[in-house]
């Protein structure tokens, strides 16, 4: 074989090896967390491991639409993940445990299913004092509430109750103004508890609106509004009417699930709850709503938020959700 032919062969083979080997090498040595719409697989991988105190550097990319990334129960700003681009995030955990990362962009009807976990090993860098059993148990559990039982209010007001009107009518009843009472009772229960007081029914509802507002702060409402817009409005609608952009898709899924399930109830349960429905909302206590949010709705599209929202965030959300029933003083920022 001529030397020129041999050299040509070496060059060609080297070129082919580089063309195949180099991209494969870099591809395998660049671990990416790929985000896809949940219908196409969600996060991949959906389990990540980390150690307490060691920075965890994640490279995230989207294979389809814009997604967002945030880790539940952590104080972090969510970041956008753009199609075909790589976003880098560095996380440091100070406590061991299983953390949930989730999509913060409304990427599709099953957006809420788009979750993964970060398993953090090691010892807490700053051990916290142990909580008592009572402190660790959510309120709805300590109250022994059956959050799946029907809780409709038998009586509802004819017009939207007003905290402004209620402020002038408030009776001097200390139990009504305690936060324990507010979180443990539904507005309808409060309506009953006020039955001995000489007020008309509409006036009683106005007093309840005032009581509900007096147990929350403007900051809490504002935070609840922000969380609601980011996480709930996609299904429940911006105005709480259960008509978010994905509501129709969820209802369709409910209809199709009717092919294998019995009764209309299952179908209806797929549609997002209407927070403007007074029957449903005035019969629900904040504790019951805490249970619904924390655990999620069994057999419905309502996801579990307990691994994402802190307890404080859940109370803020609940405070905001009641604003669909009550007319509060001042605009919510």
């Amino acid at each position: 074989m001529k030397r020129s032919e041999l050299l040509s062969r070496i060059l060609v083979i080297t070129g082919i090896i580089i063309a195949i080997g180099a991209p494969l090498y870099f591809w395998t040595s660049t671990p990416l967390i790929r985000a896809r719409m949940p219908e196409n697989g969600g996060w991949s991988p959906n389990v990540v491991h980390a150690n307490v105190g060691e920075p965890l550097r994640l490279k995230l990319t989207s294979d389809d639409v814009v997604h967002g990334f945030a880790v539940g129960l952590m104080d972090m700003q969510s970041v956008d993940i753009l199609p075909g681009k790589v976003t880098e995030v560095t996380l440091t955990f100070d406590k061991p445990g299983i953390y949930t990362y989730y999509c913060t962009r409304w990427c599709g009807p099953n957006h809420w299913r788009m979750r993964g976990t970060i398993e953090v090993n090691g010892s807490p860098s700053d051990p916290e004092p142990a909580l008592s059993e009572v402190e660790r148990v959510p309120l709805y559990v300590s109250l022994n509430l059956d959050i799946d039982a029907p809780h409709d209010a038998p009586v509802v007001p004819a017009q939207k109750p007003s905290a402004i009107r209620g402020q002038e009518l408030i009776p001097n009843s200390p139990f009504l103004q305690s936060s324990d009472y507010y979180r443990s009772n539904s507005p309808y229960q409060a309506f009953n508890d006020l039955s001995n007081i000489s007020l008309t029914e509409p006036q009683r509802w106005d007093v309840i609106a005032y009581l509900w507002q007096s147990n929350i702060t403007p900051e809490s409402l504002a935070n609840g509004k922000r969380l609601y817009a980011q996480n709930c409005a996609a299904c429940h609608g911006e105005n709480g009417a259960g008509d978010g952009v994905f509501a129709d898709d969820l209802a369709k899924k409910g209809e199709s699930s009717m092919q294998t399930m019995e009764g209309a109830m299952e179908m209806m349960m797929q549609a997002p709850v209407d927070f403007t429905d007074p029957k449903r909302m005035l019969g629900a206590s904040p504790a019951l709503l805490q249970g619904k949010i924390l655990r999620g709705g069994m057999g419905t599209g309502m996801p579990m938020w307990g691994s994402i929202f802190t307890e404080e965030q859940i109370w803020d959300l609940i405070a905001y959700i009641y604003s669909f029933q009550f007319e509060y003083q001042g605009a919510i920022p």
């Binding site: 074989m1 060609v12 063309a19 990319t61 199609p83 790589v86 880098e88």
Partner: protein, 449 residues
């Protein structure tokens, strides 16, 4: 304008005759091609950020249709990497012919396939899946790999470059449109070829290839009989093998080959396929009708079958049907089939300009993706040249509409002139063809502007 023989320049002649410059380009192209296949499979599935989509369907296509074909004819074929692995294996060598040929089948391609109907079909197959192909990296990877392996397979069975000549979906229309290019490879003196006994530029003798200097024409063309560019792949092999230095590369007037119209139906229908495809793409891919886009994208759905039916009806029914109707009124001694094939030559410059106008739209709109993909070809977060974060930005939008208008109106005038020449060859009126070209150009203007 007279022809200018470029190979009179010893620099050009030596550069073309030597195998090394071409081999250097081949290696770069082959590496890029294999990288494009891999990028399709392992890179980001987001087409606008994947090397395979951005460099094949935006960068390569822009260079091919806006520069290479109009100005260099089959210039792309001269450096195309697809046939190389098969050809090298078939020859048993990369450079000059070895002493012994490898034991490949080297069969002659059956006569029934020695036309461009298979190329028409392969182009249509890609065209019907184009919405998915042009946007989905792994589909592009599959198609690129399939073409590479098809070329290897055909080289193992048949002699020469059977894939390029008879199957390549791109080679068919490049050949058709290369007739308008101002460059050609031709013999200098016919008598020299007549007297040449061995004809190593074409022959593949039983005991070896072409001659010790090179191979018999890989494109199965005898250079001595070349009258048009259609089937000359500019592989430059005949320049190397000709013992009489009788091969020249010439600069010539545009569309010189169209003066002698073809009478082949496969080429005539290629002209209709290309004309119709450009019009359909302009409507479906660039038009405002979402229903058409959805139908084209949802391969396998009933809407896609309707789209396919309409696509094929326009190309094989409506466009040639109306063209034939126009010819029915013309008086001539030649058969209708002969007139149909000859006068369809007028659609060659028109079709090319349709493609230029259509391609300008999406190339200028999407060209900024090239910079981003250059720095991060696989979507792995690299920034090789500092351009990975280049934002998408349509380019030269102010000149888009004037440039498209110029291309289409220029194409119409060019076609009208070609129609007159073709009509005089078959001695019929050119008016029906000119009216046809005017009508299709008007539709294209409406679709694009």
């Amino acid at each position: 304008m007279a022809k200018i023989e470029l190979t009179r320049s010893s620099f050009i002649k030596n550069a073309l005759k030597s195998r090394y410059p071409q081999l250097a380009v081949f290696i770069v192209m082959l590496v890029g091609y294999i990288f494009a296949i891999l990028a399709g499979f392992i890179g980001t599935p987001v087409g606008s950020h994947n090397f395979s989509i951005v460099f094949v369907w935006i960068a390569w296509w822009a260079i091919l249709i806006l520069v290479a074909v109009p100005f260099f004819g089959r210039g792309w074929c001269a450096v195309c990497p697809i046939p190389l692995p098969g050809e090298w294996l078939q020859r048993g060598a990369i450079l000059t012919p070895p002493d012994k040929r490898p034991k490949w089948l080297n069969l002659r391609v059956p006569k029934m396939f020695r036309n461009i109907w298979l190329q028409n079909i392969s182009f249509l197959l890609l065209a019907l899946f184009s919405s998915v192909l042009l946007t989905t990296p792994n589909i592009t990877g599959i198609v690129l790999a399939a073409m590479l392996f098809a070329a290897i397979g055909l080289s193992a069975i048949f002699e020469r470059r059977a894939f390029c000549r008879y199957l390549c979906p791109v080679g068919g229309f490049i050949g058709l449109y290369s007739q308008v290019a101002p460059i050609e490879l031709r013999i200098k003196d016919k008598q020299v070829c007549v007297k040449c006994k061995d004809k190593p530029c074409y022959r593949i003798p039983a005991g070896g290839n072409g001659s010790s200097a090179g191979y018999g024409c890989p494109w199965d063309v005898f250079p001595g009989g070349l009258t048009k560019n259609t089937y000359c792949g500019l592989c430059l092999e005949c320049i190397r093998t000709c013992p009489h230095d009788n091969i020249a590369v010439n600069l010539r007037p545009f569309s010189a080959d169209l003066a002698k119209p073809s009478t082949r139906m496969d080429e005539a229908f290629k002209a209709f396929i290309m004309l119709g495809s450009a019009m359909i793409y302009a409507g479906v891919l660039l038009g405002p009708w979402g229903v058409f886009k959805d139908a084209a994208y949802n391969v396998g759905a009933s809407a896609w079958f309707i789209y396919t039916g309409m696509f094929l009806s326009i190309i094989f029914g409506i466009l040639p049907g109306l063209f034939t109707l126009g010819l029915l009124g013309t008086k001539s001694n030649t058969t209708l089939k002969h007139r149909f094939a000859s006068l369809s030559t007028a659609l060659i410059p028109l079709g090319l300009m349709f493609w230029v106008a259509f391609s300008l739209s999406f190339v200028l709109i999407n060209a900024s993706y090239i910079l981003a993909a250059l720095s991060d070809p696989l979507g792995l977060g690299w920034n090789l040249f500092g351009t990975a974060n280049t934002a998408w930005q349509p380019m030269l939008t102010s000149i888009l509409a004037p440039a498209q208008t110029l291309a289409l109106v220029g194409g119409l005038i060019w076609s009208a002139r070609t129609a007159q020449k073709a009509a005089s060859e078959v001695k019929v009126s050119s008016i029906p063809v000119i009216v046809y070209c005017f009508a299709t150009t008007s539709i294209m203007l409406w679709l694009l502007l």
